[in-house]
Point group: C2
Chain length 201, copies 2
């Protein structure tokens, strides 16, 4: 952009977002500049509201607009189950399935020693406290099937295995719509190991 | 997103941007929420700076951070040529070529009677004033090759043809990388003419 250090700076700020390249950032700025006083203030106010209102839920560490999030404060949710996720976005993804009716716990990341993320950087302490106080029947580990995800699941399972609580994790196998010929060996191995009975004999 | 009317609202504001769908908007919000107090304030400050500093150039109607934009106030630019563009982004695109060293005039759109955009909605009056005062030697019409672009070029050419100023427009023809076999007849026809004088003086 020819004109304006402030426009160039805004473009750079927008380019820091995931999936936003220079072209998209420029298009966004041009869009704002069509009616800048109105469009900038609409965006600024939306940002301000998020900044003022959104905090972390005292219980599950997910996003909340009050002390407790809408899930933790919903009496219809099954309090005996806690699903452990890495990020609020994972919680949203699971909610969209409509299948799970229990509560959540948001770790705020995955263990990654190389990036300096150890147990203290995650809300693991808070999870243990919560389990001690509420004694759920099931802890469902819903972390990514990656090195970090698996390491974090193992770490938490080690802490909980003596509690007598049922510890589960998401099924691994063939994704919906996945053709066998394109599946990587690891996925296929997991699908074989975890094979399910169609007809139980 | 499960939680937060304010998050949902911010997602909707971001979805109004061109090329930003629900998924991208959600990713942007999740990115902000990783370190909300810092990231939201960086973005808000960048928006604030644009909103405070960027205005329209008094002469060419492009973006400017002072009374005159950096092009209009640059003594090395060729003042005898004025390139007429629809939007500031078109000005940027032409600047990126590095070929053109004259001045610009930003119309702020194209004539489009169906959308209620007539000559008064564009900075045509300002262009005529400017031409009267500065008597450039060439007006280069650099509008899109669309119905609206062509209509706007014709309208402005009609107003200027009696001035004796050389009136030109961008060459039409084969785009860079375009194979002749895939070109439509209209483009190919136009390619037979090149950058042409509309009124030869």
């Amino acid at each position: 952009v020819v004109e304006g250090q402030s426009i160039e700076n805004l473009i750079r700020v927008l380019m820091a977002f995931p999936g936003v390249g220079r072209r998209s950032a420029e298009r966004m700025v041009y869009f704002l500049m069509i009616d800048p006083s109105k469009r900038i203030s609409v965006l600024t106010e939306a940002l301000h509201a998020v900044s003022e209102r959104v905090r972390r839920c005292r219980t599950c560490n997910g996003f909340a607009e009050s002390d407790l999030c809408s899930i933790c404060s919903d009496p219809r949710r099954d309090e005996t189950r806690v699903c452990v996720v890495a990020e609020p976005r994972d919680l949203d993804a699971i909610e969209r399935t409509g299948i799970y009716r229990g509560l959540y716990h948001v770790l705020d990341g995955l263990l990654s020693p190389l990036d300096g993320i150890g147990p203290r950087e995650l809300s693991i302490e808070q999870l243990l406290h919560r389990i001690q106080n509420n004694r759920p029947e099931e802890i469902l580990m819903a972390l990514s099937s990656t090195v970090e995800g698996d390491a974090t699941t193992s770490y938490i399972i080690d802490l909980l295995k003596s509690t007598g609580i049922s510890l589960t994790r998401l099924a691994r196998g063939v994704p919906a719509g996945g053709s066998l010929e394109y599946l990587d060996t690891r996925t296929l191995s997991q699908a074989l190991t975890g094979r399910e009975h169609i007809v139980e004999q």
